[in-house]
């Protein structure tokens, strides 16, 4: 993968110049956001729903241990195998062990961000197990050997034409750009895979503690097939996915579909409770791998904890003016956009991703749209502070702010500094901030400052 968070700035420049990409992004994002506004505004209690969802998530995260143990207990009672994975490595080992025991050759996968997070597909393929993405968007990016560029619309960066060309090239089918035909091509290939797969791997949108259920929402029916056709179903979920009660789903279903794909409700919901031996539409074995992979680190920080409320809807990405223009790949992480700029440095290495918290104008659009009300823009601010504390910012910047502080804490120095700048610009020596002035004019200091006018002209009016 040639995209890394370190290269954000270079990636961004390249993306900004890629007209085709810009057009694809603009079209897809505009379409979804317009529809989203429609389906959100028809609910009179949207803000209440957001608050409720936030409160439920907050409560659960504050009592995460309790709810996870409850979930484990109930799931085991239902006959589901519960496995705890500290990190990606452990999770991958669990999967390969199960696969080896079952002599598996073929896995089908439904859409799951945690499996992307731990590179599961690549790992299985390296171990000689063919692994096929069955979500259409994921199928496309797998075919193109790319990373998803959005967490719910992985192939958003591609146009229909590009997908048609990709199919023709990689699958040897006739060139077409009609969505129905493209879908039919993928279906045909996938059907065969579904029928022959030894293992189905899925993620989970929610884990219900009181019932031990694994809940998956989707639109293509592929997750339903992934979790029912093969003999073995392995679900992998981040530990933050647990919610207390089944009834809580009524709130999350309302906000998730609307936020992720601008739908009132997703087309399919699977609520998986137990394996059913000797029944045709259910696997014989179900495993749930509960993945930590840095999440308990977030839990330790009051500032970062709310990032665990995230239900991975992807709305903050669509609403972000930076993401809208540079696309998901630019971030060099499977979690792009605003929440990605929180998760990537905190979960996968601050040093490598230190630029991401700065790649935001802090406009607050992400918070405004987030269905669980995560103050993403304020967390980004906090992470900037962490970057400074960890000594990850440039020497020059540090000096500038030191000097700036000295001159701002003392009004005499402040005034002296301003006079100096006026003098310098008068003799034509003002510094050129190229990063600003390359595309924008910079204003001159006014001839007289406000305080000067106040002292000389205004003050006496008020005495």
């Amino acid at each position: 993968m040639n995209y890394t968070p370190q290269k954000f700035s270079i990636n961004a420049k390249r993306a900004l110049e890629n007209e085709k990409l810009r057009a694809n992004l603009t079209r897809a994002i505009k379409h979804t956001l317009t529809k989203r506004t429609e389906v959100v505004s028809e609910l009179s209690n949207w803000e209440e729903l957001r608050q409720l969802a936030h409160d439920i998530k907050k409560h659960t995260i504050e009592n995460l241990g309790y709810y996870l143990e409850l979930f484990e207990k109930r799931a085991i009672e239902n006959g589901i195998n519960v496995l705890w994975a500290k990190d990606g490595n452990e999770a991958r080992e669990f999967v390969i062990e199960i696969a080896k025991k079952a002599k598996a050759k073929l896995c089908v996968k439904s859409k799951s961000m945690v499996t992307e997070e731990i590179g599961l597909r690549e790992f299985l393929e390296e171990n000689g197990i063919e692994t096929v993405e069955t979500d259409l968007g994921e199928f496309i990016v797998q075919l193109a050997n790319e990373m998803p560029s959005h967490i719910t619309a992985p192939a958003m960066h591609k146009s229909r034409d590009e997908i048609g060309e990709l199919f023709a090239e990689k699958l040897g089918v006739e060139l077409t750009t009609e969505p129905e035909k493209l879908t039919a091509i993928a279906r045909k290939i996938l059907r065969e895979k579904f029928l022959n797969a030894d293992i189905g791997i899925s993620g989970a949108n929610f884990l219900v503690a009181e019932t031990g259920s694994i809940v998956i929402v989707e639109n293509e029916g592929n997750a339903g097939l992934t979790t029912t056709l093969p003999k073995i179903h392995i679900a992998i979920a981040g530990i933050e996915k647990v919610i207390p009660r089944l009834v809580d789903l009524t709130i999350f279903f309302k906000i998730l579909g609307r936020s992720a794909t601008a739908q009132r409700f997703t087309s399919y919901v699977s609520i998986i409770n137990s394996p059913r031996k000797n029944k045709p539409d259910s696997p014989e074995e179900i495993y749930i791998i509960l993945l930590d992979n840095g999440r308990t680190e977030l839990l330790k920080s009051e500032k970062l904890k709310p990032a665990l409320y995230c239900i991975k809807c992807g709305a903050c990405m669509l609403a972000c003016p930076v993401y809208q223009r540079v696309g998901g790949h630019t971030y060099g992480s499977i979690y792009p956009g605003p929440i990605g700029s929180v998760l990537t440095p905190t979960m996968f290495g601050f040093n490598e991703a230190k630029v991401l918290p700065f790649a935001s104008s802090l406009c607050g659009r992400c918070y405004e749209i987030c269905p669980v009300k995560i103050e993403i823009h304020h967390i980004l601010l906090w992470l900037r502070h962490e970057a400074v504390q960890k000594n990850l910012t440039s020497k020059l910047e540090k000096i500038v702010f030191k000097l700036w502080t000295i001159s701002m804490r003392n009004v005499k120095l402040y005034e002296l500094g301003a006079s100096l700048m006026r003098f310098v610009s008068k003799i034509g020596l003002q510094p050129k901030f190229k990063n600003w002035t390359k595309t924008r004019d910079f204003p001159q200091l006014a001839e007289k400052s406000f305080r000067e006018i106040w002292r000389k002209e205004l003050k006496n009016d008020f005495k």
């Binding site: 003016p321 601010l381 910012t393 700036w404 502080t405 006014a446 406000f450 002292r455």
Partner: protein, 232 residues
């Protein structure tokens, strides 16, 4: 009721007319206030770039100057938000920053109960929502109400008025290309609105908008809302 006027550093040095206009408005409304001359900056540039220790030093300075006031009024949504929303966090002191700090239009409408300053401005004007005024302070209707009551002023809405102009403080120089793309779209929608002037609660957005518009020879004139409201 002791009211302190806070004129942020960049308004003080680059746009003093905004401060003058603010004074004019308060004077006309008969508001008694003080402008402490030892004020400088609120510390936001450092704070937003992660330098919280430095920001705290500046905030302490601000605190020494403004603690005694019952109200702090400022013609800037952004700097108001710094004091109102973030001072409690970095200072952890007994001041009620949240409830005593006000952006000018918010203060006029919600504290003084004023909906018109009696100004006249015979031009077509577009209002740009600054992110900090809109999303950090929840100011949306106040400036529009005041502008609608300016005589002869025609208020037009710009498309995507709530979109960021791309300034974002040091963001604009750390990521100049992205920032420029953002302001480009902003200027485009202002031009499309047919407005002669674009106004806002924040001179920083206006500075950015004008900086790009001027470079590209777009005829976009900027004016801070206080300047319009003081045109009587």
């Amino acid at each position: 009721m002791k009211i302190g006027l806070f004129i942020p550093c960049y308004i003080d040095q680059i746009y003093p007319q905004v401060g003058v206009a603010t004074v004019k408005i308060l004077k006309k409304l008969g508001v008694k206030f003080d402008y402490p001359l030892n004020q400088t900056c609120c510390g936001q540039p450092a704070f937003n770039t992660g330098y919280w220790e430095e920001a705290k030093t500046i905030a302490e300075n601000f605190k020494n100057i403004f603690s005694d006031f019952d109200y702090i009024v400022s013609p800037s949504g952004s700097c108001t938000s710094m004091v109102k929303n973030f001072y409690p966090e970095i200072l952890q002191d007994s001041n009620d920053w949240e409830n005593k700090t006000f952006e000018l239009s918010d203060f006029l409408v919600n504290v003084l109960g004023v909906d018109s300053t009696g100004a006249e401005f015979p031009h077509t004007v577009a209002y740009h929502d600054s992110c900090h005024a809109l999303r950090e302070l929840g100011i949306k209707n106040e400036p529009r109400l005041l502008l609608r009551n300016v005589k002869k002023l025609k208020l037009v809405e710009i498309e995507n008025s709530e979109d960021c102009c791309g300034f974002g403080g040091t963001f604009s120089v750390k990521f100049p290309e992205i920032s420029t793309e953002m302001v480009k779209d902003k200027v485009k929608s202002i031009v499309n609105s047919g407005a002669e002037f674009v106004t806002s609660t924040d001179s920083s957005c206006l500075m950015h908008i004008f900086g790009y518009a001027k470079r590209k020879n777009f005829k976009v004139k900027i004016i801070h809302i206080a300047e319009i409201l003081a045109n009587f």
